[in-house]
Symmetry: C2
Subunit: 406 residues, 2 copies
């Protein structure tokens, strides 16, 4: 009898968790497992704000997928997925076609610019290692150029961050620590630097505890961050952003660096895959299968899970992505072993949320308790280490973990 | 009786040597000494190719001038000289006017582009710390951008160095070591990188021993450097250089980075100073005074010293600049102490020349002996340390010296 083939797209939190669990649960003869990822490394998407600001080197943020994969059970293919043909049970990659019996789509998120003019061309996004180190180098060069040029352009020292959600705030926290370093590095007066957060909503971190939000805002302001809330970005140009001011007016803010951190959507490959979706995200069944497709699972940022208590989707997180990976691995194991009905239902088990404000500070609600400062920062690093532990065990934690707690 | 005031312009090799010698030779009551420099730090101009390539951090290349100056004797002023008025015995700076009784001009060199179109706008020059770290950051960003962009521009990975003289070759040597690091850093195939040296003359390192030149060329070629000799640069654009090809034709070489290392001239301030000069360099008298001016000394790269054996100027070097500083300090001491005639004549004492080919390799002629490889590289570091020793003593050598010999 032919072994069924399982193909996993994406080696992020969701995909890699699925692969590492499957390799424990299935014998060599039970299935042929293929993991396809763009790079030979996995990166911690939740740490990319640090690599982008330059507070953590990007090599600290990634590790070889080969180091956590059992090659005797999982065929690891470094390739870029170009098309998902769910009608033909086939994947098109830049390294050839891959047919599947079972598919796991875990391609993560893409940036969403909501059609705002110029953002795609002129703003950076914190979406992967390549983009993050480019942001870092771009900011470095702005400072170096400012120091070297005869006619100084003050806007080189202005960094605009669009969006005061999780990613925006965490990036601002890192910038708060990084800017003084850059000023020392390039002999620049810190007073000349402007870090501006522009947010359309009337508050920062919507949905977060009010007291914690206040703490975060005042801590970031003390590090020099200027907030412009209730201020929508209308357009980005090569040298500035144009924001709304009141009902009618607009204002131009000159800026050497624009980082857009205000929106994500699922992988655009989903839109042409034949899988039912909304903005490239799939509202999956309880067992994490795509509607109407018995052999396709969609997890991580590509999936949409409804919180039935409030009838709104859960915000996509690494926490949920990894938990989904575990459930999908068990459901696939059941399917491969012949079970047809009663697959496991996925229910998020949310332990809390911590938002970093830089190396040394954070806010969070963990097991229902509010935390700030070093306690929250400690928890954040524990969460980061936990992700490593779940995928690669203690060895990976020791190699890549964060231990500088205070 | 009023103390005579001595003003030294520039805290490079020549100026700082003058200041540190003078503070030993003159008592507090004998003269008022002022050193004016653009920055609060001295940098090793002879190490700038390393800071530019990114093989040595720019903080390793500079130190605080205050740490080698005796503040009780030398008034150190951080200011940019804007005009030298030799007719009025007065200096104009961005921090005010400074009158002098005796002047030492030691403002170093500027890049000379020989009127080649576009070079000023589009090429970098290895002229000071500000420019060097900008080159480094620019190259870094080219690699980071190449890794991140969807439609890759291969020319981002092309670095053109104009000029195969000392500075050009030393910079190429560093790039030879740096490029593999950059490729690892940004996950780029080294085969995609092109480092091209374009030189109008029919050979590299004109004037250097032929056998050593051959060694240098083949070592650099083995590190991936491509030489285009006998090839004049006609023009630089934002994205390329245009070079001559045969008699009539031209060729465009696309390049993300263009570094012009082929020509230097004296400080342009000399041209409006009322001091006789040729291309901003002053053909000084034997005692290092400017022709016709009894109270103005010009030293370092701003001076022109003729080698009478061959009736051609000595190439400007740090070695000569420092020796001139010593002589000027003695001559000024004599003048201040009332001696009017018979000032000391300057004669360069050339111990040899070493040209670095990167951290681990060099070529040189030292005390008449030819050296290559680690022996030459060792000598190079000894020369570098000697400059520190002469200005700041053993303490400075220990703090800033180069000890990684092999
Ligand atoms: C700066 C930042 C901070 C965050 N902080 C937190 C936090 O503190 N806590 C939290 O829970 N969540 C956080 N998140 C959200 C979290 O990172 C995501 O929810 C999580 O990464 C989703 O996991 P995933 O497996 O779906 O996608 P990812 O982990 O992003 O993995 C997607 C994988 O797919 C690969 N891929 C993509 N396209 C292709 C293709 N065409 N071909 C081949 N491979 C492809 C990618 O290379 C990548 O390896 C943060 C996000 C960001 C950006
Ligand atoms: C990459 C490179 C490698 C080299 N390698 C060697 C080598 O191996 N051996 C060797 O002997 N020579 C070498 N040289 C040449 C050597 O560096 C110069 O000959 C030497 O620096 C000249 O010394 P200087 O004191 O005249 O000028 P510098 O040492 O350049 O000092 C000039 C000073 O003047 C200051 N200044 C300039 N303009 C103003 C202003 N308007 N107002 C105030 N301050 C101002 C500058 O900040 C600087 O501190 C090299 C040069 C380069 C660029």
């Amino acid at each position: 009898m032919r072994k069924p083939s399982i193909v996993i797209l994406g080696g992020g939190y969701a995909g890699l968790m699925t692969a590492t669990r499957l390799q424990k649960q299935l014998g060599k003869d039970e299935a042929q497992i293929t993991l396809i990822n763009k790079h030979d490394y996995h990166y911690e998407t939740t740490w990319l704000h640090e690599a982008s600001a330059g507070t953590l080197h990007h090599d600290r943020v990634r590790y070889d997928i080969a180091s956590v994969i059992d090659r005797s059970k999982v065929n690891f293919m470094v390739a870029t997925v170009e098309e998902i043909q769910s009608a033909n049970n086939k994947i098109i990659t830049d390294a050839g076609e891959v047919p599947y019996d079972y598919l796991v789509v875990a391609l993560g998120a893409e940036s969403e610019t909501f059609g705002i003019q110029g953002l795609k061309e002129h703003a950076f996004t914190i979406t992967n290692v390549n983009q993050s180190r480019r942001i870092r180098e771009h900011i470095d060069l702005q400072f170096a150029t400012y120091a070297a040029e005869d006619e100084k352009k003050p806007e080189r020292l202005t960094i605009v961050v669009g969006g005061a959600g999780f990613t925006g705030i965490e990036f601002l926290g890192e910038l708060g620590n990084r800017v003084p370093e850059l000023c020392r590095e390039y002999d620049i007066d810190p007073k000349k630097v402007h870090v501006i957060c522009v947010e359309a909503a009337p508050m920062i971190l919507p949905g977060f505890d009010e007291e914690l939000v206040k703490y975060a805002k005042s801590k970031l302001e003390s590090k020099g961050v200027e907030f412009r809330i209730g201020t929508p970005i209308k357009e980005a140009t090569e040298t500035s952003i144009i924001v709304g001011k009141g009902e009618e007016e607009v204002e131009e803010i000159k800026a050497g660096t624009i980082v857009w951190a205000a929106g994500v959507r699922g992988s655009s490959l989903i839109e042409t895959s034949g899988i039912e979706n909304m903005r490239a995200r799939v509202k999956v069944n309880h067992d994490l299968r795509a509607p109407g497709l018995d052999n396709v699972f969609v997890i991580g940022d590509c999936s949409l899970i409804i919180n039935e208590e409030i009838n709104r989707p859960y915000p996509p997180t690494a926490q949920i992505a990894m938990q989904q990976g575990e459930v999908v691995a068990r459901n696939l194991t059941a399917l491969v072993k012949g079970q047809q009905e009663g697959l496991e239902t996925f229910t998020p088990d949310l332990k809390g949320t911590v938002c970093s404000l830089g190396e040394d500070d954070a806010i969070g609600v963990v097991f229902g308790r509010k935390l700030t400062g070093t306690a929250a920062s400690f928890m954040k690093k524990m969460v980061d280490n936990r992700a490593l532990f779940l995928i690669g065990g203690l060895g990976l934690v020791l190699k890549k973990g964060k231990f500088k707690f205070f």
